[in-house]
């Protein structure tokens, strides 16, 4: 697969950088609490990666160039906000699912504890310091 930046035209590359610049500037301002106009390259790269992730431009895929063109033709700030909302929703969903699994596992563990032999049940329920 050819590199993304070689697939894009020079004008598109320029336009992409121009779209990303204010988004990155905003992230840098938030990151530094508006106290610094510059950050180390690594920090800027990490902040930019976050932006690219929410814009759907992270990772390599065959339709990356198509996605870049979609970003260029839309309001990048709005797309970023939408991407962030979707990520937040996915994280909350994953967290709820995880809690559900933990509760189910705990219930299963308690039911299984009833079937354990007495000594083992006591050992299981006893505080750790009593098992020493």
């Amino acid at each position: 697969m050819p590199e993304l930046m070689t697939v894009l035209t020079a004008a598109e590359r320029q336009a992409l950088c121009e779209q990303l610049a204010p988004l990155l500037a905003h992230r840098v301002a938030l990151y530094t609490a508006h106290e610094s106009s510059s950050v180390p390259v690594e920090t800027a790269r990490a902040l930019l990666d976050g932006i690219l992730l929410h814009l759907g431009l992270a990772g390599t895929s065959a339709d990356s160039a198509v996605r870049v063109r979609a970003v260029l033709s839309a309001d990048a700030a709005e797309l970023l906000a939408q991407g962030e909302r979707e990520t937040r929703r996915a994280v909350l969903h994953a967290y709820a699912r995880w809690q559900q699994l933990v509760r189910a596992q705990r219930g299963k563990g308690q039911r299984a504890a009833h079937r354990l032999p007495r000594a083992q049940k006591e050992r299981r329920l006893a505080p750790p310091f009593l098992l020493c």
Binding site: L4, V28, V39, P40, A44, L48, A58, S64
Partner: protein, 147 residues
């Protein structure tokens, strides 16, 4: 993709333009820069950022540095460009040296305080400052008594 999309950065032309516009604040101290001087300073500013491994987005600190420094009694119109270039290099070097613990404004205050104070306008003396000293001066807001 990570390595494919370059980091957006300030254009030297934009920095030069912002610096040129700042002439209206520095002119009352007899310090002005021509467009050619601003372009040279913007180019050296970009080079300093590259050397110190930093990226600047939004508004450049260079015009603010010019404004913060312009009332110094140790400046002359003939050496204004050179001094500003040296102070720019020191500013970004110290930003890295202090590991992001000093804000732009705090570092500007310390740099200008030291430049006008104990360094008596000598940038070589300022260059000898280390991170603990800079942080201490910023904390005590006493840039004039040390260099």
């Amino acid at each position: 993709m990570k390595a494919m999309i370059p980091l957006p950065a300030l254009s030297p032309q934009g920095t030069a333009e912002a610096l040129f516009r700042r002439n209206d604040r520095t002119a009352r101290f007899g310090l002005t820069l021509t467009r050619a001087q601003c372009a040279r300073l913007a180019a050296s500013h970009a080079e300093v950022l590259r050397e110190t491994g930093r990226v600047e987005v939004g508004e450049s600190a260079l015009p603010r540095l010019a404004e913060a420094l312009c009332d110094s009694p140790y400046l002359a119109p003939e050496t204004w460009e050179e001094t500003l270039a040296e102070m720019t290099a020191l500013f970004y070097r110290f930003k890295g040296l202090c590991r992001e613990r000093l804000s732009d404004d705090a570092l500007l205050a310390v740099l200008c305080g030291c430049f006008n104070g104990a360094a008596h306008g000598c940038t070589e003396l300022l260059a000898s400052l280390d991170a603990p000293t800079l942080l201490r001066l910023a904390r005590t807001e006493r840039g004039d008594g040390h260099a």
